[in-house]
Structure formats: structure tokens, C-alpha cells
């Protein structure tokens, strides 16, 4: 009921409707006012079960959707990385670090993400695993990018670049004779 109308009259019964309603009843006697046969027919427990099933289905569907969400992200990240190139500069470093940061933060909040879909009848483990796997893949992509940028110490040069020269046991001095 609309607000504006409510000010004029508090309630109203539409008698003209009863004929339409009565036709649906089996006895031909019109149903009392406010009586709805359809509600009366269904069993209480069945309704509840059906409702829960629907919710569970919806929840599990949503959980799967959430679990698959990083995949899109992954694709986008891949594209961005490809765009960034393999030289070290501000853009590529930014992209790489966001590619690393996103999966890490997502993994940290993996419980929170699936919190709304938690249910005894909903299996959230598999979507969770998928979610984690996809995020790990994203992380892997980030690390791979980091490596292609040459920012990971995976080469011997990274470990010896500040290695002090070896000490010599012998010492020799001298030169041209002073004449």
C-alpha cells in the first residue's frame, strides 16, 4: 500500500475480488476474508526444506563464483604484465608488485571471503582450494615476472657481486733499484 493513500483510509476490502477468489475454491463457498487456500495446502516442513535447498544451492554457486574470480584477475594481470615489458622501470615494477600483493592479500583473507557461504550442507573446501590454487598461480605469475625483470637472486652473480677478494698468503714488494 502506498503511503499517500494510507492517510485517507486505513483499510479496505475489495468485494469485487471475492468472486474471482471463490471460483478457485472447491466448495463454491467463498473463502472468508483474508483466507488463502494456497498457503493452507502446503506442508510446513517441506516448505522449509525447499527453501534451505535453494539457499544452499545458491550459496554453493556463489562460492564457486568467488573461487573462480581470481582467474579473471589472473588473465588481466597476465595482459598487464605483457604490456609492461621486461625492463626495470616504474610501471613494470608497480605492476609486478601489485601482482604479488593481490594474491597474498587474497590468501590472507581466504576465510573471510567464504564466510557468507559457510553452511553445514555446502561444501566450501573445494572452492576454497580452487581459490587458493588460482591465487597461488597468480603469485607464481608475479614471481615469474619478478624473475624476468631480474629482481630475484636466482643467478650466481647475485650472490657473488659483493664477495670480497680472497686474501693472499704471500706478499712481495720492490721495484726499480734506487740509483
Amino acid at each position: 500500500m502506498e503511503k499517500g493513500k494510507g492517510l485517507a483510509r486505513r483499510w479496505a476490502v475489495e468485494f469485487a475480488e471475492s468472486s474471482a477468489l471463490s471460483s478457485s475454491s472447491s466448495s463454491g463457498i467463498p473463502d472468508p476474508l483474508g483466507y488463502n487456500i494456497s498457503l493452507h495446502d502446503l506442508d510446513d516442513s517441506t516448505v522449509a526444506r525447499q527453501k534451505k535447498d535453494a539457499e544452499a544451492a545458491w550459496k554453493s554457486q556463489k562460492a564457486w563464483e568467488v573461487a573462480q574470480a581470481p582467474f579473471k584477475n589472473l588473465m588481466m594481470m597476465g595482459f598487464m604484465m605483457w604490456m609492461a615489458g621486461s625492463t626495470v622501470h616504474l610501471f613494470s615494477i608497480g605492476i609486478t608488485f601489485s601482482a604479488l600483493w593481490q594474491p597474498i592479500s587474497a590468501l590472507q583473507g581466504v576465510g573471510k571471503v567464504f564466510e557468507p557461504y559457510k553452511d553445514s550442507r555446502v561444501d566450501t573446501i573445494t572452492p576454497k582450494l580452487l581459490f587458493i590454487a588460482l591465487n597461488l598461480a597468480g603469485l607464481g605469475l608475479g614471481v615469474w615476472k619478478l624473475n624476468t625483470l631480474g629482481l630475484l637472486p636466482t643467478h650466481p652473480s647475485d650472490w657473488v657481486s659483493s664477495l670480497a677478494p680472497a686474501l693472499e698468503v704471500e706478499y712481495s714488494g720492490g721495484g726499480l733499484l734506487i740509483n
Partner: protein, 983 residues
């Protein structure tokens, strides 16, 4: 990862910078330049006319200079080449300076006011002889204004107007030694007198007009002559006989020669020992120097010798000058402790003095060695005199009216060796007033700078800013600074004087004329050799002063004993000085210090015995512990032999001296004398720090450098090609470069450059050698680089092992393990010829290196080592480009902005010294020659500090403004929110 970042950053930096030039207003901020002339040999005054009074001098550093008589400043100066020594200098016609150089073969005339070269004549030269220059004093208008030159066996008459050779006459026979060329009263006859085989007196009378020998008179003197003769009066010469026991008067008037011999003992019985004629020209008088005194003689009217005066030592006489017609004066300088008595006397009447003065001299100047006098007319029409004194420490002083008008430290033109010393640590307790003052100054300075930045400064302000920057008290403080820019440069000069120069402004902090290096009994001809750091206290830096070691030798002979002096670096006082009981063939500073942080030194004597200094039980303990690992090598450049030695036992000759050790020959390399002549040896600097043993190359690969302190670079050239460039064909010339390990004598690498000729200059640093020579085939100078890598370490590429530290890359290695080396080399053309070459050194060896090249134009050029990379290729790959490899070119570029000396010249450059500052990016550079130059350079720019002209005030103001803005906007936003809520 951080290292990677840093590397990437560095690469970015390297790409952005190539030059390191200075802006015009930065000149003089960190650099200083001092101009010197060297020890004066001759001086000619020019003070007759009105205008600038000057004195023209020629020096032992082959400099001709015109000095301002009022201030001692240089009006103009010319540094002749190293092998073009000035023999004589005269002023002709009152406007030309005539110089005779290169043993009398080059005659030049310079314009007196501005020093421009008017003309130059190269004279004929047939045999080395004395070189004499005679410039007639009076020029007639109709005369041709000739100057007469004797040199190389030829007598030349040269027009002083244009240098045209009017006539020449060869006066050369075997054994003839022409000693004087002179005219009598500007007559038309020129006399050339000399000795033939020191037995015969010869006089040539030569026509001035055409050079014809009018008369030749000879007379033999059976007992022979000693040394040189002296012209006493117009036709009388004085000489000593061969035994130096009698004075011989030679009268050659009018063609007849007569000798008159007088025994010295007859006239001065007290004279004993060796006598010598003093070469001062005293017109009528002459002086004899004996062991004990100086005796002045005169001829009396009947031609007999009369003793006029006897002076005790040390006494110096000047030449005589004529002040008025018939009046000649000369100066007598006599020492009395730190005072010098100057007396100017008339030649005719020795009893009265024209002038008598006493001046106080700085004790570190030593004795007067030469004196030149000049007269002037005072306002009261009397005669005044000024005297130019050349001191024992090679400084030049002008004395006038009993005062030293000016002095020049020209000993600094002949620096032999140099070292550095840190300044004292700043003590606490600086007064508050000083801090406040400096704070005010600081603020004021920064406000001015801010104005400049905002372009609000007036020209006056800009001048004030420049003034402030140049005269900042910060740089001349006598304490250590945080960046290590302030230091003392200690230099040893040829005169045996040690100077400490402040790096801030180049002033002399202290100077010391070493007593031990002065001529004394048993040390006839002392020569300063080497300066080395003796003690550098670190633990007790607050209470103990560092000290330096000065080594000298008593004579040119290798058997002469040495002198060993230790000098305090802060005060310039001699701590100890001793004459070594043995000779001095080699000095080896060892990499050890004793408990008082005195550096151990080995002095090798001519018997190849090593003497250990300091002589303390502590040092011997250290030495004996390390004795089996200490070696030494000797290079004999004349014989072409290199030998390596070890130490084994105590000296056999003297069993009691426990500081003496025998050396045992281990190896020798003999260069065949017919095909190789030693040109140069070069080693790494002892104090060079190398940051890393690995070189990261493209694609994150790694190469291990061969870093050895005993790496020796030796270059030999073919003996035929030892002369001038172009004297041999390319087929006859070659250069052989060796890399030798000085411990084992192993030749690591040998390369032959066909058609290459010296002079060779080389520099060794880290794992590379750069050498410079002339390529006869290409007719160009060339620079070659050899980089040495250790192949036996190349397998250390397992990341896991490196991560876990399971490698032996840093464990001590023995050179007897015969490491396998590979070399990479490349040659490039270089435009300049090179006088000296060195490399920058930094505190930790991280900063990239630059070669500092002293060019033929006496400038210092900085050349990035990256240009001398053997791995340069014509088309470097992307990763090689990232590494910083420059595409290959055949010539090394010379970028005008990379001249370290910018517009200045370090005349006669002989050495460049690089000193690491505490700041890793910065190197201090000290170049010496006739001039001194100091600056600091940053080969990769100052990446570790803000530049000096960074505007702190602007930064501060920006921060304050930002904070204020944040506060204001915060308050405003709060208010707005409140207002919104009330709605």
C-alpha cells in the same frame, strides 16, 4: 635484490652522465692551483724605466719568467720542455728577453712586457760545449744590434731584431773548451778565450762585423789548468793551476799572452785544502772559496795580487753592478745564525759600505745560495739597493730596505714525492658564540641562495654568494671532516724540504728543511728520495700524531749510505733522524704495523741484505712470524734483469744485528739485450681497495677477476726504438708487454705489439692494465687494455652452494697454487701523447674508475675506464647495453668537459696522486709539476651525498609550508563537516 636495484640505479645514472665538467661558478670551490717557477739560476732586473718594474729569471725547472718586483707575482712565464734547459738569459735593447737554451743550440727572443715569442733561431751544433751568450751593453744606432752566441762548437752572431744569423764561425777542435766570449768596451773585436786540453790557453780575436778570426794566440801552460777561468778586468783572466795550489793570471792584451803564477800559500798562508774560484763577476776583484773562508783578491797597480778581505763561511757574493759612471758595487751576504747581513760595497773602495742591512730569515729557509742585486734612485737622490736571494730551499726572496718585500716558495716546483695525512680529530668544547655566529652565517647564506634560486638575487647578491662559497671557513679548518675532504698533503721537494699543504686552499701549514738532508760531513750530495707513511694512529688518534718517513741518500753512487728521518705530520718537527750504517738500494713498506702502529719497512742495501725498521722487538716478532711469506724483487733497468728474492736467515756478516736478514734468490727473468729494453714497470697501488672479486657480465653471468697484489706489469721495447718517435721503421720497433707474478716470477701473460714505440706509460689497478704507446704503422698513439680473469674460479656458479656459503672463494690463496688465468685485451687509438697516467681510488672501491691522464698540454684528462673495456663490441646486445658496454669505436673520445684541470695548466706535469676521500664517490686528485693543482672528482657523480649547493633552506621552507597547509586544510575541513551536521 637491493644490490640489483642499486645496480639498475647505477646503470641509469651511468647512462645519464658521461661528462663531469664544472660550471663556471664552481671553479675554485674544491680546486686550487699554484704557480711556481723553480730554483732561480739567473736573474736580470729591468727597472730602469718608469712603469712596471720586473725581474726576468730563468730556473732549473727550465722556466723563464718575468716577476713583478713589488709583489713577486708572475707577469708571464714560459716552461720550456724537459730537455730544453735554459743556459742563459739576458735583456737586449731594453725590450727583448734573449734566452739561450738546449746547450746553446736554441736562441729565442721574448717580448719583455708580455712574454710573447718574437723570434727563435736554431743554431748549428756540432759537439757539446759550453754555451755562452754575450749581449753587448751599448747599442749604437748604426750597429746591427747583434748578440753573440757560442754553443755546440760554433760562434754565431745573431741580429737581435729578427733573429737572423748574420755570420757563424766554427771554433771547434778536439779538446778545445771555450770559456768566455766578450767584447772590450764595445770595440769591433770579439774575444773567445778558452783552454785546449786544459794545458794551453787559446784566445781568438774575432771581427764583430763578419766573424773572421783576426788573430789567434795560444800559449801552453805546462802544469795545466783547473776548472774554469774568470774575466777579472778587460784583458786579465784568472784561473787555477791543475793542482789548485796557485792562481794563474792570464794577460792576453794585444795579441801576446803572458802567464803570471802566484802560489796561494804565499799570499794567504792560512789557506789550506781545496780552493775554487767564485764565479761572481766583480770587475777588478775576484774571490777564492776555500774550506774555511772566502778570500777576496785584487791586483794592485803593478799587477800583483793583494788580499783585500777575508770572509768566514757561509758568505755569498753577487756580481758587481755599476751604479754611476766608474762606480761599481757588489753585495756580500753573511750568515749569523738566523740573521743575514747584507752589505753592498764599492769595488774600488772596500772599506766603505754603500748599504748595510740585517734581515731576519725564517729558519726553515736555510742559507742563501745566490744573490742578485739591483739599484734604484731614492727620492733623496741617494742609491738604494734591492737584493734577490735564492735560498737553500729554492725559495726566492726580495729584500729591500732591510725588509723581505716578498717571498716565493719555489721549492714546490720540484716535488719529488708526496703522501697524505689525516688532520687532527675535532675536539669537543666549541664555544657557543662561534656556533651562533656560524648558524647566522649559515642562515644568511641559505637565504641568499634561496633568493638566487627564485631569481630574485641582485648582481651584488650573486657576487656575495660566490665569495661565500669560495671562502667558506669550512674547507680550511684544521680538523678532520665527515667526508674526508680535508687532509694534509705532505710533499718532499728536491731541496730536501718537506711541506704540508692543506687540501682546502693549498696553504703551507708547516715546512721543514731537513737538517739531515743538508750538505754535511760525510754526506756530500744529499738527495731526497722517498716519502712514506710511517705511523698512522687509529686507536690513539686523539693523543698521538701521525708521522711520515723521509728517505734520502748521500750521493748518486749506490754505495752511498742513506738518511732516515721521521717527521711528525701535524707539527712538522723531526722525531728522529739517523744516518743509516748501510747503503740504500730499495725500500719496501710491508703490509704490517707494530703495536704502536708504526709501519714495518725493509731497507735493502747493496749486499742484498735487508734491514728491518723500526728497530723494536715487537716489529721483529711480527716480521719473523711472516718471514716465509715475504718476498721482494729487484728490477735492473740497465741490465734488463728482474730477480725475485726471499728472506732466509740473519746476515752472515753481522751475526749480532738481529734486524738484518739475508735474501735468497728465487727466480730471475733476463730480457735479451739485443731485442728488448726495459721501458716501464707498473704495479698496483699498495693501498688500493677492491670491493669485489666478481664481475657481473651480461645475462647475469659472472667472471672472477684475477686480483693479486703482486701483479707486475713490465713493458719492453726494441732497443732500436728507444729513441724519438719516427726514428725507426715499424718493422724494427716492437713493444712486449708482460704480466708477471712478483712472488713466483711466473709470466702470466705476454703480448707483442709489432710496430709500437715508446714512450710507454702504464697503470695497473684491480685486474687490469692500461698502457699507452705510439703505433708506428697507424701513426697514432694507442692505448691498450688487458683484463685478467681467474679461470680456476669460473666453475663457482652453483647458486645453492653460494647461498649456503659452501664455496672457497674467500679463503686465503697462495700464489704457488698457479691459478689459471685468461686475459681479454683490446687496443684503441688515443689522440694525445701522455706524460703521466694514474687511476682514481676510492675508499671502498665500489665507484667506477677513471683514468687520469696528464696530457702533453699539461692538463689532466679524466677518461672513464668503461671506454677501455676489452669486451666492447660493435653491436652490443640489449643485455650488454644494460651492463653499460659502449659500442666499439676505434678511437677513445676526448670530451672537453672531462678535463679535470678545466682551463688551467699544471705546467711540466710530473705526477698525479689520487687520494680516496671518506665519501665513497669522491677521489681527491693532486697533480704536481712546476705548478701544483688539487681538486676532487667523483667518477660516477656524487651519488652518496647532496651537492654542495643543495638548498637546505628551500627544502626546509617547503616542508614548513606543507605542514602549515595540512594544518590549515584540516581545520577548514573540520569546520565544514561540523557545519554540514548542523543542517
Amino acid at each position: 635484490m637491493a644490490a640489483r636495484f642499486f645496480l639498475g640505479f647505477l646503470i641509469l645514472l651511468l647512462h645519464s652522465i658521461i661528462s663531469c665538467g664544472v660550471y663556471e661558478d664552481q671553479v675554485g670551490l674544491a680546486d686550487w692551483h699554484q704557480r711556481y717557477i723553480g730554483k732561480t739560476k739567473h736573474a736580470v732586473f729591468h727597472s730602469h724605466k718608469t712603469g712596471r718594474k720586473r725581474v726576468v729569471v730563468s730556473t732549473e725547472e727550465n722556466v723563464i719568467a718575468s716577476l713583478d718586483l713589488r709583489t713577486g707575482d708572475i707577469f708571464w712565464r714560459h716552461v720550456l720542455g724537459e730537455n730544453d734547459p735554459v743556459n742563459q738569459v739576458e735583456i737586449s735593447l731594453g725590450k727583448y728577453v734573449i734566452t739561450l737554451s738546449s746547450e746553446g743550440s736554441v736562441l729565442r727572443a721574448w717580448n719583455l712586457p708580455d712574454g710573447q715569442l718574437i723570434w727563435e733561431s736554431v743554431l748549428q751544433f756540432s759537439a757539446p760545449s759550453r754555451s755562452l751568450l754575450h749581449v753587448p751593453t751599448k747599442f749604437g744606432l748604426e750597429r746591427e744590434n747583434l748578440v753573440f752566441v757560442f754553443g755546440g762548437g760554433w760562434l754565431h752572431a745573431v741580429s737581435s731584431i729578427d733573429g737572423e744569423k748574420i755570420w757563424k764561425k766554427e771554433l771547434y777542435t778536439e779538446g778545445l773548451d771555450i770559456q768566455q766570449v766578450f767584447q772590450q768596451d764595445d770595440s769591433d773585436i770579439l774575444y773567445a778565450v778558452g783552454f785546449l786540453d786544459s794545458l794551453q790557453f787559446v784566445a781568438y780575436h774575432i771581427s764583430v762585423k763578419n766573424g773572421e778570426v783576426l788573430e789567434e794566440s795560444k800559449k801552453s801552460f805546462p802544469s795545466g789548468f783547473y776548472g774554469s777561468m774568470l774575466l777579472v778586468s778587460q784583458d786579465i783572466l784568472v784561473a787555477l793551476d791543475a793542482s789548485r795550489s796557485s792562481i794563474v793570471l792570464i794577460n792576453f792584451a794585444r795579441g801576446s799572452v803572458s802567464f803570471h803564477e802566484t802560489y796561494i800559500s804565499d799570499i794567504v798562508p792560512e789557506v789550506a785544502g781545496i780552493v775554487e774560484i767564485v764565479p761572481s763577476k766583480l770587475s777588478g776583484l775576484f774571490a777564492l772559496r776555500t774550506d774555511a773562508s772566502l778570500v777576496l783578491f785584487r791586483f794592485n797597480s803593478i799587477g800583483e795580487l793583494v788580499v783585500e778581505n777575508t770572509f768566514s763561511h757561509p758568505t755569498i757574493l753577487s756580481d758587481s753592478i755599476s751604479i754611476t759612471e766608474g762606480h761599481q758595487v757588489f753585495a756580500v751576504m753573511q750568515h749569523a745564525e738566523t740573521k743575514v747581513h747584507i752589505a753592498v760595497r764599492f769595488v774600488n773602495d772596500l772599506t766603505s759600505d754603500a748599504l748595510k742591512e740585517t734581515i731576519e730569515l725564517h729558519p726553515q729557509r736555510g742559507n742563501v745560495q745566490k744573490v742578485f742585486i739591483n739599484n734604484y734612485i731614492k727620492t733623496d737622490r741617494s742609491h738604494g739597493f734591492r737584493a734577490l736571494l735564492v735560498m737553500e730551499d729554492h725559495s726566492l726572496l726580495l729584500v729591500q730596505q732591510g725588509k723581505i718585500v716578498w717571498s716565493r716558495e719555489d721549492g714546490l716546483a720540484s716535488v719529488v714525492d708526496s703522501t697524505t695525512s689525516e688532520l687532527p680529530v675535532e675536539k669537543d668544547g666549541v664555544s657557543v658564540a662561534k656556533v651562533e655566529h656560524s648558524l647566522f652565517e649559515w642562515l644568511k647564506g641559505h637565504m641568499l641562495k634561496l633568493k638566487e634560486t627564485l631569481m630574485l638575487a641582485t648582481p651584488d647578491d650573486i657576487a656575495a654568494i660566490q665569495e661565500m662559497r669560495l671562502k667558506s671557513s669550512e674547507k680550511t679548518k684544521m680538523t678532520r671532516d665527515h667526508n674526508g675532504f680535508r687532509k694534509l698533503i705532505i710533499v718532499l721537494t728536491k731541496a730536501g724540504k718537506v711541506f704540508a699543504l692543506h687540501t682546502g686552499d693549498g696553504r703551507v701549514v708547516w715546512s721543514l728543511l731537513l737538517r739531515s738532508l743538508r750538505i754535511s760531513e760525510g754526506c756530500e750530495c744529499p738527495s731526497a728520495l722517498k716519502l712514506s707513511q710511517w705511523q698512522v694512529p687509529h686507536h690513539r688518534a686523539m693523543v698521538e700524531n701521525p708521522s711520515v718517513l723521509v728517505l734520502a741518500k748521500c750521493g748518486p753512487d749506490f754505495l752511498q749510505s742513506g738518511v732516515f728521518s721521521i717527521i711528525d705530520s701535524y707539527t712538522g718537527k723531526v722525531r728522529s733522524s739517523q744516518k743509516l750504517p748501510h747503503s740504500l738500494l730499495q725500500v719496501i713498506p710491508l703490509p704490517f704495523t707494530d703495536s704502536t702502529e708504526q709501519r714495518l719497512h725493509l731497507v735493502i742495501d747493496s749486499n742484498f741484505e735487508a734491514h728491518l725498521y723500526p728497530r723494536t722487538p715487537d716489529s721483529i716478532d711480527i716480521f719473523l712470524r711472516e718471514i716465509s711469506n715475504i718476498y721482494w724483487y729487484a728490477v735492473d733497468s740497465v741490465e734488463g734483469i728482474m730477480k725475485g728474492y726471499s728472506f732466509n736467515s740473519k746476515c752472515k756478516a753481522d751475526m749480532e744485528d738481529e734486524y738484518c736478514f739475508n735474501s735468497k734468490e728465487l727466480w730471475s727473468i733476463i730480457f735479451p739485450a739485443h731485442s728488448e729494453k726495459l721501458a716501464i714497470i707498473a704495479t698496483r697501488k699498495m693501498n688500493e681497495v677492491v670491493h669485489t672479486q666478481a664481475k657481473v657480465i651480461a645475462d647475469q653471468d659472472v667472471m672472477y677477476k684475477y686480483i693479486s697484489k703482486s701483479l707486475l706489469f713490465v713493458a719492453t721495447i726494441s732497443p732500436k726504438a728507444a729513441g724519438e718517435i719516427g726514428s725507426v721503421t715499424p718493422e724494427e720497433a716492437w713493444l712486449i708487454a708482460y704480466l708477471i707474478d712478483a712472488v713466483t716470477g711466473r709470466i702470466l701473460h705476454r703480448v707483442i705489439h709489432q710496430g709500437a714505440q715508446g714512450p710507454v706509460n702504464a697503470v695497473v689497478s684491480e685486474n687490469w692494465v692500461v698502457y699507452h704507446y705510439f703505433n708506428l704503422r697507424a701513426h697514432r698513439y694507442e692505448m691498450s687494455v688487458i683484463e685478467i680473469y681467474d679461470q680456476s674460479r669460473a666453475d663457482n656458479k652453483d647458486v645453492l652452494k653460494l647461498v649456503l656459503g659452501k664455496h672457497n672463494l674467500t679463503s686465503p690463496i697462495s700464489l704457488y697454487s698457479r691459478p689459471e688465468v685468461v686475459v681479454k685485451s683490446q687496443s684503441y687509438f688515443f689522440t694525445h701523447s701522455v706524460k703521466v697516467m694514474t687511476v682514481t681510488t676510492t675508499a671502498k672501491g665500489i665507484t667506477s674508475k677513471q683514468l687520469l691522464i696528464g696530457t702533453i698540454a699539461d692538463q689532466v684528462l679524466a677518461l672513464d675506464k668503461r671506454y677501455l673495456d676489452p669486451r666492447r663490441t660493435a653491436n652490443p646486445t640489449q643485455s650488454e647495453k644494460e651492463e653499460g658496454i659502449i659500442p666499439l669505436t676505434d678511437t677513445l673520445p676526448i670530451i672537453p668537459q672531462s678535463y679535470v684541470t678545466h682551463s688551467l695548466q699544471v705546467e711540466g706535469i710530473r705526477g698525479i696522486v689520487t687520494i680516496p676521500a671518506k665519501l665513497e664517490s669522491t677521489t681527491l686528485v693532486f697533480a704536481y709539476g712546476v705548478d701544483l693543482f688539487f681538486t676532487r672528482i667523483a667518477p660516477s657523480r656524487t651519488y652518496d651525498s647532496l651537492t654542495e649547493d643543495f638548498n637546505y633552506a628551500l627544502l626546509l621552507i617547503t616542508i614548513v609550508a606543507l605542514v602549515a597547509a595540512i594544518l590549515v586544510t584540516w581545520v577548514l575541513s573540520e569546520k565544514k563537516e561540523l557545519r554540514d551536521r548542523w543542517k
